[in-house]
Amino acid sequence: MIAFLAAGNGNWLPHDINEVYWGTAAFLIVFGLIIWKAGPAIKTAIAARPARIAEELGSAATARASGEAKVAEVKNALADSDKEAARIIDEARQTASRLSSDTVARAEAEAVAIRERGAADLVAARRQAQADLTNEVSRLALGAAERVVDANLTDDTQQALIDSYISQVGATN
């Protein structure tokens, strides 16, 4: 065919027909080498491709199942967390209620104690005031008595006291 073409009008063939020959030969050699050397690998690759695709599809399916399981797990976890949150909130409410009750009870107890202490302090203060008043009255009364005694301890009174003492000693034998 090359020769035919070469024997034609020659407008689309190279001027040197040998280039056609050599080029065709080189092409064929390279093509043959490729078929010879890469052919099996290409054939193997082409043959393995469906299996790989199938494997990748399997892996994808597994991943999808795993993902779906994860999603379900997350959903469950979310549901659990909602329950946990509700439980915590409920527990917090109970604790707050209990604390409130305890605080009220403690405050009431402290109020009672303060009232009792106040009453006791009042009684003690009243007693102390009475004692102070009594002492002050006693002091004033004794001071007045001592002044009266001093003023009345004249010589006559002294002699009378001495005579009275002697008479009493003599009378109590």
């Binding site: 001093d150 002699q159 001495i162």
Partner: protein, 175 residues
């Protein structure tokens, strides 16, 4: 040492008083004078000041006691003052009284009063104490202004307190 000296003085004074036949009088007056001097800071300081000539101090004693005490008492006090033993006068008087009482078989009754008891009161009190305690006593009268009024008598372990001071104390404690 001082007690021995005081006892020596007491023995000598007792001998002189007995020789004068005024043992009881001297004892009583000596106790009264000792009490008066001890109770007066000025008198005690003056009579105890050895820088003042002994003659001057004796003159003070005679001026104070002359006519108010027996001559034997004045002489004895003058002797004690002249010898510079005014500080021991009360102890000497006490020793004289104790010795005299012991010699008579009597017990000393220490009688504290705000004013001095006169002879008649002392005799009545001695008689009253004898009737009460059933033993003879010699009165040692000590003038103690803190008694305020009345008398406090101590005979041995027996205390007879009829003082105004004690009444006031009892009144204070009663409140």
């Amino acid at each position: 040492m001082s007690e021995a000296v005081n006892n020596a003085y007491a023995e000598a004074i007792g001998a002189v008083a007995r020789a004068e036949g005024q043992a009881s009088t001297v004892e009583r007056e000596l106790v009264a004078v000792a009490s008066a001097i001890t109770g007066s800071d000025e008198l005690r300081t003056t009579l105890g000041d050895t820088k003042i000539p002994a003659a001057r101090r004796i003159q003070i004693v005679e001026d104070l006691l002359g006519g108010n005490a027996a001559p034997a008492t004045v002489s004895i006090v003058s002797l004690i003052v002249a010898n510079g033993r005014v500080g021991d006068l009360e102890a000497i008087a006490k020793a004289v009284l104790n010795r005299g009482a012991a010699a008579r078989g009597e017990e000393v009754a220490e009688v504290r009063s705000a004013v001095a008891l006169n002879d008649e009161q002392i005799e009545r009190l001695a008689a009253a104490l004898k009737a009460k305690l059933h033993r003879d006593v010699t009165i040692r009268n000590i003038v103690d202004p803190s008694v305020l009024g009345g008398i406090i008598t101590q005979v041995g372990e027996t205390l007879l307190d009829g003082s105004v001071r004690t009444r006031m104390t009892q009144l204070r404690e009663a409140f």
